[in-house]
């Protein structure tokens, strides 16, 4: 079973790499789609002169801070929107409006306001992550079955207990889904922000590679995004499985 899965994974990776390799220099010019070998060479070189770590470090720092901030705000406001009728009526309309504005669209405005410094990038990522977390959190809070709350009240739970011990646990599956989606959004947000206004970071690396005609650098950027996105997502899944399993069990 496990061996079979591993075999299929290997085949999948091999086929993908194979298609890339054979199309480079045939279907696509090698100057546009470089071969895996030249990308690997570039990767080694960039690790060697530590250039890669500067870009990677800049992007990851932005993601971590922006994501954390976005999640904090998203959960707080999401809980308020879900739990308090007045807050919902006041906050929801502008949010429903904002969710149609993708983070990328805000970049020119953000650059005009904050310049090309770090604050603007944190803003973009927090916005991208925050919106996803907020809507999922609010939905989770609202999804708490009424009779579960009522049962808790009969058993002597005070308002505070009901929130902490019934509403929040009932909302966890939704909130965690939001947090996971937001993680993906953070990667998108950071790249978008860095492509337009930065002098460091994976997004910058990708954008700059076309200016200096260095296609391998662009693909190193792709490689980093794919790899680190995958790693953080898996880490997220494992952590949830370890810490939050009892909240994720089937509800029936």
């Amino acid at each position: 079973m496990y061996a079979g899965k591993l075999a299929r994974l290997s085949v999948s990776i091999l086929v993908f790499t194979g298609v890339w390799w054979t199309s480079s220099g045939t279907f696509f010019e090698a100057a546009i789609v470089p071969s895996p070998v030249s990308v690997a060479g570039k990767l080694t070189e960039m690790i060697g002169n530590a250039e890669l770590f500067a870009h990677l470090g800049a992007s990851l720092r932005r993601i971590v801070l922006g994501y954390a901030l976005g999640c904090l705000i998203g959960i707080t406001v999401g809980v308020a929107t879900g739990a308090i009728r007045l807050a919902r009526d006041l906050i929801e309309p502008p949010l429903e409006f904002c969710r149609n504005i993708p983070p990328v669209a805000l970049i020119p405005l953000v650059v005009s306001i904050f310049g090309i410094g770090e604050i603007g990038k944190y803003f973009i990522i927090s916005y991208a992550a925050g919106i996803a977390v907020l809507f999922n959190t609010a939905a989770g809070v609202l999804s708490t079955p009424q009779i579960r709350v009522r049962a808790a009240l009969c058993l002597g739970a005070r308002k505070r207990d009901v929130f902490a011990r019934v509403v929040l646990p009932s909302a966890w599956p939704h909130i965690l889904t939001g947090l996971r989606i937001a993680l993906g959004f953070s990667f998108m947000g950071v790249v978008a922000a860095e492509m337009l206004a930065a002098d460091q970071g994976i997004g910058f690396l990708i954008m700059q590679s076309t200016n200096i005609i260095a296609p391998a650098e662009m693909f190193v950027g792709f490689l980093m995004l794919g790899t680190f996105g995958l790693i953080t997502d898996q880490l997220f899944r494992v952590t949830i499985h370890r810490l939050m399993r009892r909240y994720m069990i089937p509800m029936a």
Binding site: A151, L153, C154, L155, G156, A157, I249, P250, M251, A252
Partner: protein, 261 residues
């Protein structure tokens, strides 16, 4: 709290409907439930039984009249009254195992771990699930979940159990078992039971008092019976059968009236 009677006096309930109108559900319901009795409400579907139970539980306020324990008015949910819901999957806390569910009330009462454990052991044993304390609700059958809900309520030592068709979603055999077992539990614990069912047989098997409701809108109490059937109660007993058909005809009358409207 020491009280003698649960009193419903002139209870009426209107709901604002989504279309802007008003649903006049209950009118002038007056009942007295004596401490220790097993009081059952029976009535056509949609007449307002659950609404009445929610008012007694304190989840909803009455539009007119009120509920009181002796002379103390009921103003909201309280630990003296615990509801056993039919929809047990949503009523239990799915992220807590059976034991943790049962210990929820004691925990809210700030009891220590030792005392909580004693209570959960006692009541899990009472409902016959002492070996299943570590299981989560999704690992339990419908009947087992309902036992857990009963244990959870009892561990909180309420005076009154409010039960809204607790066994209606169970298969016939499980239902029969639980009815018999629950009657024993009622005997042993001496709780006051306010019970809703659709099932005349169940009502006659369990209750000391039975109220038949009229059809809604503006539903009220049609007739109240005190049930003194020979124990053990059995449908083969002629008194049982006679009472059964009497209650059945009352309900049929109401259903006819509802249809005619």
């Amino acid at each position: 709290m020491s009280w003698r009677v649960l009193r419903l006096e002139g209870v009426g309930k209107d709901f604002d409907r989504a279309d802007g109108g008003v649903a006049q559900v209950l009118r002038d319901v007056t009942l007295t439930v004596e401490r220790g009795s097993f009081f059952t409400l029976l009535g056509p579907s949609g007449c307002g039984k659950s609404t009445l139970l929610n008012i007694v539980a304190g989840f909803e306020g009455a539009t007119t009249g009120g509920v009181s324990l002796d002379d103390t008015p009921v103003t909201g949910p309280g630990t003296d009254r615990t509801v056993i819901f039919q929809d047990v999957s949503n009523a239990l806390f799915p992220w807590m195992n059976a034991r943790e569910n049962v210990e929820f009330g004691p925990k809210m009462a700030r009891l220590g771990a030792r005392a909580r454990q004693e209570l959960s052991e006692k009541y899990l044993r009472l409902v016959g699930l002492d070996a299943d304390g570590g299981k989560f609700p999704f690992e339990l059958s419908g009947g087992m979940k309902q036992r857990i809900q009963i244990a959870r309520a009892l561990a909180n030592d309420p005076d009154i159990l409010l039960m809204d068709e607790p066994f209606a979603a169970l298969d016939a055999i499980t239902k029969k078992h639980l009815q018999v077992e629950f009657r024993k539990i009622w005997n042993e614990t001496g709780k006051t039971i306010f019970y809703i069912t659709h099932d005349i047989f169940e009502a006659l098997l369990l209750s000391t008092h039975l109220a038949v409701m009229t059809a809604g809108p503006e539903a009220g109490i049609k007739e109240i019976f005190q049930i003194d059937l020979k124990e053990p109660r059995s449908p083969s007993n002629p008194d049982f059968a006679a009472l059964y058909s009497r209650v059945e005809s009352l309900i049929d009358e109401e259903v006819q009236r509802m249809r005619a409207r």
